[in-house]
Amino acid sequence: MNETTTLDVPVSQGDEDRYRLKLGPQHPATHGVLRVDLELDGETILDCDPQVGYLHRGFEKLAEHRTYAQNLVLTDRLDYIAAMANNVGYCEAVEQLLAIEVPERAKFLRVMVCEMSRLTGHLLWLATHALDIGAMTVFLYCFREREVLLELFAELCGARLTTTYTRLGGVRQDVTHEIMMKLERFVDAFPACIEEYETLIDTNRIWLKRTIGVGQISGEKAVDLCLTGASLRGSGVDYDVRKHMPYAAYDKMDFEIPLGETGDTYARYRCRMEEMGQSNYILRQCIEKMPPGPIVGDDAPDLVMPVKPGRKVEVDTSARNGLIKLIDDRDVYMEGDIYVATEVPKGELGFYFISDGMGRPYRMHIRSPSFIHIGALATMGKGVMVADLIAIIGTLDVVLGESDR
């Protein structure tokens, strides 16, 4: 046998004492399937290189072959922790592109589900962040409240996670009186729950030691790294899409943007905790101010479902919320491009469309906050210890479904 063989002899590069560790994709603290390639000196990280793509499903390409209405279900699978907020973000973008008017009640309902999903997102963040640092009990306390919200989602639209609740030009179903009553009960009880979480960890010496000064990032640096959401506001930069570029009914809501000062893990933790309080306050306003009226606009396009011959389809036209409405979609869509951003629990979620006048997007790009936050991990993870890296992954609040889309 005259086969050429290469000897697997490592070439000396002066870094033989480095310990290379591939953290993930199967690791309990990487929030899904994130892989971080680490080079360690003892427990100190010398080099940190995050790898994404294990959950790639090609949504952006897939969207080019589906109509605008059909693409809505893809957005459920982005940030599956707060699907409602993604639905709203997508619909806001398409409605601006197609110039569709949304009735007032639908706008309020959108704000309501957005804030509910912000609470579910932040509760899951707090749960997993605390679990990563080792506080197990907070995890289950948070899931107790999250369960109430998910049950409300199920009652509202039939699904707990993959909601597809909004529709181009409105929302799919109106809220019933019972849902509003249940939500009100939740809103009344929730501030006490936040206090309960705080008693567990807020002044805990070990928690403070593990979060203060960890993953510290200045406001300037955070802007450079394109951080958004609470990860940016923790560094004291006042930027929230809800306040600065209001969408849906946020301009009619009274709320504050909590800001941190130090830009460390603890500041971001405080920011998100206060955001939960603000979300709760917005929910209360939604309940009080909810205007009457239709939930879908008159010129709203919808799924074009071919009616099978010999099958009778009942369409409830009087309520104007029937799922099936045939329109000639060619006329509606205009040419051009548009970028619309919304504030989801993780940060700024943007949809960028290029339309060539057909019923499908020519190109859809999703600016997902998680993807950009994982990019920041490479900078923030250098020079810290392994345990701190886990805390930083938690505090950046990433979800891989959104990052890999």
């Binding site: 310990y19 560790l21 591939k22 690791h27 309990p28 603290a29 003892g42 427990e43 605390a130 679990l131 990563d132 640092i133 080792g134 506080a135 197990m136 009990t137 995890f139 289950l140 306390y141 107790r144 567990l200 960890i201 805990n204 070990i206 928690w207 030691k209 593990r210 210890m385 392994v386 345990a387 701190d388 886990i390």
Partner: protein, 322 residues
């Protein structure tokens, strides 16, 4: 005949302790469950009472996987070292007056030696598995053992000085039968240091760094499965019990209680041990985990100076009294 009796005693002791270990896991899961607004095990038997037995059967019949890259002899030896060292330290514990298997004069030193040996098992497991996470777990364990053996030993020097003995039975007798004469009060600093060092020594929260789940997957036991995993698990729980027993013997007056229980002298001893175990579990449900360097700083900068101060104060006290 003498040997036969001793073998019988050993067998009874092992059976009783292992049964307690099994039900400590149940105790822990139930308590943590209720602290975390859930039920804990409920399915096997009435309120999950048979759960430990089901767990035992499960781990016994599970496939025992040995990684190809592992150092096989060491990989096989590590859990045995852990378990045997922990079981051996049971021999010197006085459960009641005259209820010690081996009432030797160096009881306290023997237990220290054994618990240090058990950490060899952990380090060897981390090394022999030849996996990155287990290696880091083993390293952490090594550093932790070195840092916390010292304050633990020093914290008990005060007790040795007061009782004038290393024999566990004599330490208990020296404390008398009154609740006010137990060493908890004169040795409160020592007890504080001992308690923290005890948590670290048994790898419990907030010092569970060698097996920190969210950082090192499972640390040194990542590659173990089936019965070998269960052996580490048992060793950890026996370790908890041994440490709780030392705390009971050295600070809480051992088997002495407010009144004597007829027919069952170890009653108060077991009650106090379970009190300690409850504290272990309570802490696990409450506290987050320390970081590696913070753990080192706590051990060297706070606990060792405190323990030394305690020795100095105890010595001063003895000189002044006599």
């Amino acid at each position: 005949m003498q040997i036969l009796i001793i073998i019988l005693q050993i067998a009874v002791l092992l059976a009783v302790v292992l049964l307690h270990v099994a039900y400590t896991t149940y105790f822990e899961r139930k308590i943590i469950g209720h602290m975390q607004v859930r039920m804990g095990p409920m399915r096997v038997g009435w309120h999950g009472l048979l759960q430990p037995i089901a767990d035992g059967i499960k781990s016994f019949f599970k496939e025992d996987i040995i990684p190809e890259q592992a150092d096989k002899p060491l990989f096989l030896a590590a859990p045995v070292i852990c378990l045997v060292a922990m079981l051996a330290s049971l021999a010197v514990l006085p459960f009641a007056e005259g209820w010690a298997l081996a009432d030797i004069n160096i009881g306290l030193l023997f237990i220290f030696a054994m618990s240090s040996l058990a950490s060899y098992g952990i380090i060897l497991a981390g090394w022999a598995s030849n996996s990155k996470y287990t290696f880091l777990g083993g390293l952490r364990s090594m550093a932790q053992v070195i840092s916390y053996e010292i304050p633990m030993g020093l914290s008990l020097v005060g007790v040795m000085m007061l009782s004038g003995s290393l024999n566990l039975t004599e330490i208990v007798t020296a404390q008398g039968t009154s609740i006010f004469s137990i060493y908890l009060f004169p040795q409160i600093i020592g007890f504080f240091v001992f308690f923290i060092a005890m948590l670290a020594e048994t790898n419990r929260v907030p010092f569970d760094l060698p097996e920190a789940e969210t950082e090192l997957v499972s640390g040194y036991i990542t590659e173990y499965s089936g019965m070998r995993y269960a052996m580490f698990f048992m060793a950890e729980y026996i370790g908890m019990m041994v440490m709780a027993s030392i705390g009971t013997v050295c600070f809480l007056g051992g088997w002495n209680g407010p009144f004597a229980i007829p027919f069952f002298p170890p009653f108060w001893f077991i009650l106090k041990v379970y009190g300690f175990l409850f504290l272990f579990i309570w802490i696990r449900a409450t506290l987050p985990r320390y970081r590696y360097d913070q753990l080192m700083a706590l051990g060297w900068k706070l606990l060792i100076p405190l323990a030394l101060l305690n020795i100095f104060l105890t010595g001063l006290f003895k000189i002044l009294v006599h």
